[in-house]
């Protein structure tokens, strides 16, 4: 049995003729991203309908709890309200990452299995880190920071600076993709195993049952708790926490 693990499906390709950027590709990644955005926005809209000052309903309680927990997360990790501008970004990254990771449960291909997505987010974080470093120490201070503690360290410092977004992107991407790959492998291997096992049965019964991947029921669901739920939530949280930490550290100079 062949197992084909490939990238996102390409729905259509718009040729642009621009040398570096290449063609615009409307892929599964983008389409599912839009679905994810629609889900998040719809959820926000649903949660904040007819808000009340008193006698709040469950929906409003959830909405207020979400807002307050994001604010608390950012404020407790940066110490103070200096980084309140970061709160919407953190909320957007966390929710998008979380819903993208978990949307694979519905059978859609999650946008976070495409490195473009994580690279985009990590680049934004990198831009913010750099902007904050420059704001904290001035452009000269920022450049000078690369030569510490001694001048010889400069290439390593530049490398470590670039490694930050690369590691962030690859960590998230690798974890999610590995979950998809492993799930694919398990499904395939269980199908093979069940075909082999029930092929031992004699006659028609065996040939019918061997075509049904009976062993695929059960075990993948258990593994999915780890590879989809745990990894998905964990990676979203890690990416968010790293974003907050790096930017807070950058601003401290």
């Amino acid at each position: 049995m062949n197992l084909d693990i490939s990238g996102a499906k390409i729905f259509f390709q718009i040729p642009t003729g621009i040398p570096v950027l290449g063609d615009i590709i409307i892929s599964e990644t983008l389409v599912v991203s839009w679905i994810v955005m629609a889900i998040i926005t719809g959820l926000c809209y649903f949660l904040t309908r007819d808000l009340k000052v008193e006698n709040i309903g469950k929906r409003q309680a959830v909405a207020e709890m979400l807002v307050e927990s994001v604010e608390n997360l950012v404020r407790s990790n940066t110490g103070g309200t200096k980084f309140d501008w970061l709160i919407p970004f953190v909320a957007a990254v966390f929710s998008t990452s979380l819903v993208s990771n978990l949307i694979s449960l519905t059978g859609l291909r999650s946008p976070t299995t495409d490195l473009s997505t994580e690279a985009a987010w990590a680049s934004m974080v990198f831009v913010m880190i750099t902007a904050n470093k420059i704001k904290a120490g001035g452009i000269l201070g920022y450049l000078k920071g690369f030569t510490t503690p001694i001048f010889v360290m400069t290439p390593f410092n530049i490398l470590s600076e670039i490694a930050t977004p690369v590691s962030m992107a690859c960590r998230h991407f690798g974890n999610i993709l590995s979950g998809v790959v492993i799930n694919g492998l398990i499904y395939a291997s269980l199908a093979v195993a069940s075909s082999a096992l029930f092929g031992l049965l004699p006659g028609l019964l065996g040939s019918v049952l061997s075509n049904i991947p009976i062993l695929s029921v059960g075990l993948p669901a258990v593994l999915s708790v780890y590879f989809d739920w745990f990894t998905g939530v964990m990676q979203a949280f890690i990416f968010t926490m790293l974003t907050i930490m790096y930017i807070a550290n950058a601003a401290e100079g």
Binding site: I5, K9, L21, C44, A63, S116, S123, L177
Partner: protein
Amino acid sequence: MKTQELVTIIPWTFIAQILNLFIQIYFIKRFLFKPVHEILQKRQEKADAELKSARQAREEAETMKSEYESSMASARQEAAGIIDRAEKDAESRADKMIREAEAQAAAMKAKAESDIQQEKKKALNEVKDQIGGLVMDIAGKVVEKEISEEDHARLISEFIENAEVAS
């Protein structure tokens, strides 16, 4: 259907995902943070207003209480004043009545005394008249006849008896 490489960065997708994240930030701000912050603000304002009004009400109650107390005190004072005045009034009226009564009694006494004096004078005058009459009688009798010594004595004792009866 064609698929892209498993591990690759497609520039347009990269750009699109950045834009998507910005749009998502805007939507989260617009549909979650803004309304929730508004409602939290409103709740804060309401709580503040209620606290303020409660404090105001307490202050009002305290001023009312002090007003009530002061008015109670003044009322008590007034009541005491009224009683005082009434007592004084009653006393002065009683004094006046006593004085009047005394004056009346004195007047009555004086009148009675003057009456007695008058009566006495009247009686004396009558006695005088009678004595005169008697003298005239005796004189007449003396003139009529020679008075013996016995007669004389008798006349005197008669006169004295009459005088005693008259007085």
